[in-house]
Subunit: 342 residues, 2 copies
């Protein structure tokens, strides 16, 4: 491996001079600079960042810990974060927890070991605070995105789950639905709790009742699951007075598993049941189908990276900055006005 010493020997200068040429620091005579640059090109020298970061204590690397890379929402966040990071001179270590706390723990240790300068995280649950504290003990700042957790102090970049959910439920009510069920994500995630809060409040505000079984829970990653089927069976076998005519799915993958289960039961969307959900579902058809609250995923990623890097390069920042980005409601074909069948 070519080192700064090889360059030094080749150009007949000291290693320090080579270092200075590389970093444009100090004063170098033009002729020496040229000698050194020639040697660098000839020998194909590339600085060793391990050696650099050993002395500089900075790696110019960010850790990005996603909960589900196969969900387009998260892969877009990743893309946004990487773009912005590179733009600002940083690299990104990207990892995937699959919503698994143990995996998260593991990756946090990896991040510590590789001495990333900061971490962008969508935590798996409230216990993740332990991981964050561990990072903070090592002076590694953390930006949370998508979700927040109890006790965290620092930058957040979130979507407005509350507002998006209110708008979705309101839309259902506006088009005549009164029996609306919620298939939520896991209650240990702040997004789920916010979405449920909005759902409950919106129904109450409109004097609509929440029947038993109307609120149920699924994993955010369950595209196809037995659990979904169970939930739908229960919902659709309620007696006519209670049987929901619309369902609010807490995220895109849950919506997909719902629509699949309904299909198996020969129930049509939107003819028999309307569905709305959080997060975009990639629509590749001629005409997009799902009524959704679409979050600005790329932007969430970009801002997360930017905030993190700003914090790294600037000590005198506020204790915490919270950005809450509103989702866009797209009304499409999965929701349709209720026509009274009686």
């Amino acid at each position: 491996m070519v080192t700064i010493y090889d360059i030094a020997k080749n150009a007949k200068v000291s290693p320090m001079t080579v270092s200075r040429v590389i970093n444009n620091s100090g004063n170098i005579r033009l002729t020496t600079r040229e000698k050194v640059e020639k040697a660098i090109k000839e020998l194909g020298y590339v600085p060793n960042s391990a050696a650099r970061s050993l002395i500089s204590k900075r790696t110019k690397t960010l850790g990005l810990i996603l909960s589900d890379i196969s969900n387009p929402f998260f892969s877009k966040v990743a893309r946004g974060a990487e773009d912005k990071a590179v733009e600002m001179g940083y690299s990104v270590f990207m990892t995937n927890t699959d919503e698994d706390f143990e995996k998260e723990k593991n990756y946090i240790n990896r991040m510590l070991s590789s001495r990333v300068d900061g971490v962008i995280l969508s935590p798996t649950n409230n216990n993740s605070i332990k991981h964050i504290q561990k990072l903070n003990q090592h002076n590694i700042p953390v930006v949370l995105f998508d979700r927040t957790i109890d006790g965290f102090v620092g930058d957040h970049v979130l979507g407005d789950s509350y507002k998006g959910s209110r708008d979705l439920v309101k839309h259902l009510i506006d088009i005549g639905h009164e029996k609306i069920a919620l298939v939520n994500g896991p209650h240990h995630l702040s997004t789920s709790r916010e979405r449920q809060r909005a759902y409950v409040e919106t129904l109450k505000l409109n004097d609509l009742s929440i029947h038993e079984h109307y609120i149920s829970e699924l994993d955010f990653r369950s595209v196809q699951s037995e659990d979904a089927h169970q939930i739908l069976m229960k919902l659709m076998s309620l007696d006519k007075k209670k049987q929901p005519t619309a369902i609010f799915a807490a995220n895109n993958f849950i919506a997909i598993s719902i629509i699949r289960s309904l299909r198996e039961m020969n129930i049509n969307v939107p003819e028999d049941v309307s569905i709305v959900c959080f997060d975009e579902i990639e629509h590749v058809h001629f005409d997009p189908f799902f009524t959704v609250a679409s979050q600005p995923a790329l932007e969430i990623g970009r801002i997360s990276a930017q905030y993190l890097i700003e914090r790294l390069e600037n000590d005198n920042l506020d204790e915490e900055r919270i950005v809450i980005l509103p989702p866009e409601i797209h009304i499409r074909k999965s929701s349709k006005p209720l026509i009274d069948k009686e």
Copy 2:
């Protein structure tokens, strides 16, 4: 930052002993081991991998350079590669070139600087060989996936573009289509060339003619583009004798842009035109729509990582190993038997 020296002082041993405990190397008396482990826990020590790799010359890190992370095909490859790498004790640096040669160059330099042990790459074009040579000069092995390029010697993990394409085109012919157009990806990619070769040969073998304008080219990433529209306009305004009744799209995103353009022209799929394509299109609808050649993306990622790591940990491997994984043909609703309208 806590170092091995702090642990040494705390446990009243030498740094070397601490190192031995951490790495389970050499013989350590049980009592000392316990002292050291206690100190490690108390001080929250995490080894500095920069320091480690400086001396060991290995980073236990792989570089993964994708051409389009927002394409589910590639994000699945990424997932597969990361899973396997972690399983084998490596981390992954993931980056995204957007099919841009300059970005690729940039990322290769980053990889060199961060001293990844090996690189998994889907090259942007034949000139990428320069980048690969640069890596090889630094003794960094490269595994190509999805695409191959001229002059590359080393491991490849590819999908069988030729076979998949033949099967798709054959399917169209079997259900009565005779006028079949190809909207290909860029000709500088091996996958495009293979898919075109299969298309041409299959038509010839069945005595079908390839009219002028039947073969055209789009970017693999163009989900929605003016170019697509232009191409479709040209195709659909051919005179009745030549107007294609079926289109073979070289990848998923091209298929999407085609179907969108057709929609704008009020042409229905599959009633008026059948479409088949390479790569899965995430079907979230009750019933999947596209007839596709689906590649085992996860497997491509996993094998790429495995081959690379094997090569890193094993000198006496063959010069090159080429895996070609067959795609699965899924016949769905976007292709339908031709009914003669005359």
